[in-house]
């Protein structure tokens, strides 16, 4: 036998051994457990968002297990699946994880607008809720058409109206927006394009002009876009970026001499990981936020105490990211998901729940100031009340400015303008319902 043959044979044996091991090692499941799938992404251009947010999410659940023994005695379990932020891998992860655990997957958080879109129909058919906190399909806020989708806290359109309100405040009143020029620099994806119609609508209403400029994924080259912006001389640039696109935008803006304190980012461009790589070029940059960074919240202190002590290590590899934007967003994911399970337990009993039961919990989720205090999350999260009509539940954002070292909040909660957003959502949801032949639920009967 020649050498190649030996290599080939040994390789075949290796693969077969691995396959056999993989097949037999199915872990035994205890019964009093609630399974939460973690469709994370730790590689690729958006890894910073994936590792930070899922790090916080997993650490919060781990903390609940260690501090309270789960939720009312039901232990929380999870399994990660790498989606690489790709839709097809995300669908594979969804299918792989949906039946895990004694009652199946509880609730999916994809942290990707594309994967959320791709799984809405599957999840609705499988009766598993999808939570998309601050991303995903905006018109899913209409719970009558999308019973299983929850774009909690605020969706893109709400946030966008708050942003225009903020720009109005900065200019000295909404009437001062008349004649202003705004550029919407957006990521060339479903996520990026989501706010174009609402901006056009507001441009008409307030009398400013808006120019939409696309940056192709992943956005590592923006020279031509920023040269165009320099020619347009807009009063404001809305940066609808994600991942590596953000620091590149700030650096290129500095290069062409556009003032950074006139660039207003979406919350997906408002993390430390988005500005630090841009160095000094990021100073003065403003972004929206539906939660602050920082470690001075009792809930974060608890995570530190129970998860990162006594030789135990949490999910974060680099502890210096503890309390940063993405990490805190993960903590919020943890709070909202587990509070929904807790709410559902109050109705269905303290046992592992099915996705359908957790859906009820999400729809009846009500976190008021008092509950926020008990959770140790005052200031981290806004009070939120979800209903059958409104799957968003919050709708306010703050704005923050990067001072070169950290994010400083520069406004209080700014309420979104639901008088603009809600009719659009209902119109869009109704169109979807018609396309798909869905009869919207009657919320008075829920």
């Amino acid at each position: 036998m020649n050498r190649d043959g030996v290599i080939r044979k040994s390789f075949v044996v290796l693969v077969m051994a691995a396959a056999a091991l993989a097949a037999m090692a199915a872990p035994a499941l205890a019964q009093n457990e609630q399974f939460i799938p973690m469709t994370s992404y730790r590689i690729g251009p958006y890894a910073a968002g994936g590792t930070g947010t899922f790090g916080g999410f997993i650490d919060y659940i781990d903390m609940l297990n260690r501090r309270d023994g789960g939720i009312n005695g039901v232990k929380l379990t999870w399994e990660e699946c790498e989606t690489e932020y790709k839709n097809d891998r995300g669908v594979e992860c969804y299918e792989r994880l949906k039946k895990k655990g004694p009652t199946g997957a509880t609730v999916f958080n994809f942290l990707s607008t594309g994967i959320t879109y791709a799984c809405i129909e599957r999840a609705t058919a499988d009766k598993i809720p999808i939570v998309s906190i601050g991303y995903g399909r905006t018109d899913a806020s209409d719970g009558r058409v999308f019973p299983y989708v929850f774009p909690l806290i605020t969706n893109y359109w709400s946030q966008n109206t708050a942003k225009i309100k903020f720009l109005g405040m900065k200019s000295g009143g909404m009437d001062k927006l008349k004649g202003k020029k705004i550029v919407n620099l957006y990521h060339g994806s479903a996520y990026g394009k989501e706010t174009i119609p609402i901006l056009d609508l507001q441009a008409k209403k307030y009398g400013f002009t808006v120019t939409h400029i696309e940056v192709a994924h992943p956005g590592t080259e923006q020279e031509s876009q920023w040269l165009q912006i320099r020619q347009l001389k807009p009063d404001w640039v809305i940066l609808r970026g994600w991942g590596v696109m953000n620091p590149v935008a700030l650096k290129t803006a500095a290069k062409v001499g556009y003032p950074r304190d006139h660039i207003v980012g979406v919350w997906w461009s408002g993390a430390e990981e988005d500005v630090i790589p841009a160095g000094d070029a990021a100073k003065g940059f403003i972004s929206a936020a539906f939660h602050p960074s920082g470690t001075n919240f009792p809930v974060l202190q608890d995570v530190k105490k129970y998860v990162y002590s006594g030789g135990h290590k949490g999910n974060l590899e680099d502890f210096s990211r503890f309390g940063l934007m993405y990490y805190n967003r993960g903590i919020i994911h943890g709070i909202l998901n587990t509070e929904a399970i807790r709410t559902a337990q109050a109705k269905f009993g303290n046992k592992p729940l099915t996705g359908e039961q957790v859906r009820w919990g999400l729809e009846n989720l009500n976190i008021d100031e008092k509950r926020l205090k008990e959770l140790g999350a005052v200031g981290l999260l806004q009070p939120i009340k979800v209903s059958c009509m409104d799957h968003e539940g919050g709708g306010a954002v703050k704005f923050q400015q990067w001072d070169g070292k950290q994010w400083k909040l520069i406004t209080d909660w700014i309420k979104s303008d639901q008088s603009i957003v809600r009719p659009l959502i209902e119109e869009s949801a109704a169109a979807y319902a018609k396309e798909k032949g869905i009869t919207p639920r009657d919320c008075s009967k829920e």
């Binding site: 190649d4 290599i7 080939r8 390789f11 691995a18 396959a19 091991l21 993989a22 090692a25 994370s40 992404y41 730790r42 590689i43 890894a47 590792t51 399994e79 990660e80 699946c81 790498e82 839709n87 097809d88 891998r89 669908v91 594979e92 969804y94 299918e95 792989r96 949906k98 039946k99 607008t113 594309g114 879109y117 791709a118 809405i120 129909e121 599957r122 058919a125 060339g188 994806s189 479903a190 996520y191 394009k193 989501e194 174009i196 119609p197 696309e214 994924h217 290590k313 999910n315 590899e317 869009s428 979807y432 396309e435 798909k436 032949g437």
Partner: protein, 355 residues
């Protein structure tokens, strides 16, 4: 001994020109089809249909399309994903705008639409060869993505540019379960794969291969360059277009143009390089390698690696192992997995008495 053809006499031209001239091949293909059609639908579950088999079959079809163009006709292309996108969006628009459009007709017309665009982008191949042609096909890739993103008409003015595929209904039967979608995909892929196999052994396929091996010589012996090359582009785009339509309708249900970006084109190109350039079987093997191996590695990493190993490391490790395996296979067999199978076949013919 297993593959010995001794005793299989061909007494007519028809027998000599069969699709699979060796009896063992016929048996194996029939058995595979029987398993795929009759056994898998009963033993598979939603996960296998919805997440593994359907994407594998669809990408095999796309790889087959590229293999016709690159493997058989020798025209390098980096635009396969663009043709998939055209197929997906064309099928969506046909279903949307033509009342009473039958689903299969929409798929067929979507393939034709894609073929028409393929023809246009195939024109440079008459003047440009090799790597230079690959670069010109990049134009197809970027132009398609740009056009589908820029003109809202294609996505029915969806604000985020996402199309959401209509329900699949044929003769009143609704393809809703993953198993039924799998069977529909399998039917189309099986028919198109057999058609491709048939095509490449006949006059057209021979003309393609002649062009591939030396186009000047092919022209000298009277093969029309224009017709042959453009036909390869058209047929290849047709296959990719149908694959794209299936990707949107049978697999994801909703797609955006970015689902068919340059990375997808590269993925399909890698499939045929690893699977075997110029081989129908290779398209399937390559698709299996590129689609299934990362998933297998991910599952294996979860099961085999110690639980306290950080998940970031595990994710990166998968990519590393995947890359190493690609290098490994290309080093031991530069002609792809299909060639490995061919070698195995030759060995089996002599076994157990190799001389």
């Amino acid at each position: 001994m297993i593959y010995r053809e001794a005793g299989q006499f061909k007494t007519s031209y028809a027998a000599d020109q069969r699709l699979f001239p060796i009896r063992q091949d016929r048996i194996v293909v029939a058995a595979m089809l029987a398993i795929a059609f009759l056994v898998l639908p009963f033993i598979g579950n939603d996960y296998w249909f919805g997440a593994i088999l359907i994407p594998f079959l669809i990408l095999s079809l796309a790889a087959l399309g590229l293999n016709i163009l690159t493997g058989y006709a020798g025209q390098l292309s980096l635009g396969s994903a663009a043709f998939m996108a055209i197929g997906a969006f064309a099928a969506f628009n046909l279903m949307l705008r033509v009342p009473g459009m039958p689903l299969l007709a929409a798929f067929f017309l979507a393939g034709l639409a894609s073929a028409a665009v393929g023809l246009v982008f195939g024109l440079p191949s008459l003047r440009i060869k090799g790597f230079y042609l690959a670069v010109t096909t990049l134009a197809a890739q970027f132009f398609t993505e740009w056009a589908l993103t820029t003109f809202g008409w294609f996505s029915n003015h969806n604000p985020s540019g996402v199309i959401s595929a209509q329900k699949m209904v044929i003769l009143g039967y609704r393809f809703e379960t993953p198993a039924s979608r799998y069977l529909l995909t399998l039917c189309l892929v099986a028919v198109l794969a057999l058609a491709a196999k048939n095509l490449v052994r006949g006059r057209i396929g021979r003309a393609w291969m002649a062009v591939r091996d030396m186009d000047v010589a092919a022209e000298v012996i009277g093969i029309p360059m224009l017709k042959t090359k453009l036909l390869a582009f058209a047929v290849s785009s047709f296959y990719c277009g149908v694959a794209g339509a299936l990707w949107a309708f049978a697999y994801l249900g909703s797609v955006e143009p970015q689902a068919f970006d340059l990375n997808r084109s590269f993925q399909i190109l890698f499939m045929i390089i690893i699977g075997g350039v110029g081989s129908v079987l290779g398209s399937f093997l390559g698709a299996a390698f590129i689609v299934l191996l990362p998933i297998f590695l991910n599952v294996a990493a979860h099961r085999l690696l110690p639980a306290n190993l950080s998940s970031s490391l595990a994710s990166n490790l998968e990519i590393v192992v995947f890359g190493v395996l690609i290098v490994f296979f290309l080093v031991v067999e530069p002609h792809g997995l299909a060639r490995l199978w061919q070698i195995a076949k030759e060995k089996l013919r002599l076994w157990p008495f190799p001389h």
